[in-house]
Amino acid sequence: MDLSRESPRLVVVVGSGGVGKTTLAAALGVASAAAGVPTLVMTFDPARRLKDTLGIGAISGDREVPVAVERGELAASLLDARATFDRLVERYAPDPASRDRILRNRFYDELAGNLAGVLEYMAVERLFEVAAGGRYGRVVLDTPPTRQAIDFLEAPRRIVGFLDSGALRIALKPWFDEAGRLRPAQRFGALGRRAERFLDEVVGLGLLRDMAEFFQAFAPLYDGFRQRAREVETLLRAPETEFLLVAGPGEERVPDTLFFARRLLEAGMRLRAVIVNRLHPAPEESRRAELRNADPRDGRALVRWQGERDRRGVEQLRALLAELALIEVPALLSPPQSAAELGDLGARLAVDLRSTRAPVDRPRAR
């Protein structure tokens, strides 16, 4: 990956929560801008310091704000799923009345914040808005901190499956007429009525009515929404989109990393490299034997023990990932405090990335 080239236009940084994904995404953004490509970093939930460094936060909302960098053009934005969802509704709603019906619906209120995958989907959705604007040559997309991280990839399909539920609308019909009023059940005879009554009990009529209302109000939006979700899916698999998988160090994380890498490849995503972040310095070979049960008061021995654990982890990953590039990033003594320090980290990453092979040139993982 050569950041001074035009492609990839979209870099998706994925990985489990707490592995330093957001910092690396920001660092990559600074490096990309320095390489001459106007770049936008889109991020979720960065640490306070990083927010300050990038100049994003409560005031900026989810707007893009320019970041002061030494070279090039960089902007950053904070992703806000709810705001994006609201905007979508506003865009696709045929008239203000239907818009308000949706925005005020209690079920929408819960759905917008709670449905698994909404945040992930909205990330890509927002990305689309930005891409359509055409102001940036490259977007570096940080992904939400899910434990599974893979949720991100399945989000568009899941959301569409959910919203596109003609099945659900039909299924809700026996309860409600077009105006959302409860109608007496007639369709299933005695046994069916019993099942229905149970569903009424489980779901609760209030919630059911909210759902029915929501789906009726949402109906005019389906086409736009479905269309967009298909585009999002295409974008994630586009030749100009590449994925970087960030992993925590240490042997015990190897299965997770491997699982995720495999899922990305199986899903047809173009995974460029695995970045193992925050590696502790490996111990001198002569000291390896004495690491087990180190004196817990000896912090140096603890760090050596972590270093050994991390070294073994990298060794295992290298053996298992075969053709896939693995980039090692050592633990920093302090997190990057300024755009310049982010740039230093990014520049080192860029050097390592340059020697990685494009996903198409790589034999497909079995």
Binding site: R147, F162, L191, L199, V202, G204, P283, P296, G299, R300
Partner: protein, 334 residues
Amino acid sequence: MPWRELFTTRLRGGHPTCGAGGRRLPTGTLRSEPAGTSTLNPLDLLADRQLVVVTGKGGVGKTTIAAVLGRALALAGRRVTVLECDPRESLYQMLGVAPSGGERVEAGPRLAFRNLKPRAELDAVVRDRLPLEFLTRRVLASPVYQHFADAAPGMKELAIIGHAYRLVGAASGRGPADCVVLDAPATGHGLSLLAAPALVAQAVGAGPIGKMAEELRGWAGDPGRCAVVVVTQAEDMPVAEALELGEALRRRGGGDALLVANGLYPPLPTDTEPADPWLALWIAERTGNERELARLAAGWSGPRVALPLLALERGPVLVEALRRRFEGGGEPWT
């Protein structure tokens, strides 16, 4: 039909007694002095609780602490079940047993664990309510139910808490466990777990589910019966999230949560030694730890315990070492 009691029995007052065969725990109340500054065994803070919800940001050692608490409470004489909600199991490694696969697994004297499938729990409600297999199949296959189970806010969480409620026999006074330690999903979800009963009670209103939600809300919100343990690491992001969570829990009412700051580097030596990369990183990490501990001390009003980083692989040996330290009150806070 274990779920039936949820629909038919009214919640009874009073606390369950400790299981036989072990030492009896004193009845603790959550105190606000930091546990690390006194000789108090922080386990006393959880004594006699029926539910201990362990929550925190992902990757901070939540599952490890859930295992530590499960072991400690079982050793103290209570019959404990540790419940894990993450579909990718890891708790079994910490307890040194085989994966659960959704089944109950014995993990030692008075200690069992189980990986919960929330959807399966919800399905169990349906089976329990509908004795006819034909009807059950029909409901489970119905698209309304499918979408509802996936999307209705709070239902899965309600099923998880309901499972704990049933295990400790909160309604009947007698269940297979005295205490459930719940390894909750990472913070955002952890909070929605605790908020679920109120949410569902409000959304569903009357009817059996609404009644159940109402009962569970009373139970999970009673600080005498349910305790919350917030696990964090002394680093910027996890601490910020722990403080936010603490604030949200306080607003919810239901008593102070116990904070566990996990993975501390040891205090630095007083003499300066020649720098090498390992010492440099130790200094950096410990300095960060101390800054964040100070932030927690200023911002956390409830009790708190600090636990050290140990050179041990994830597993029962680590859990045992941490348990002893936890019961000793943990590391000094400064």
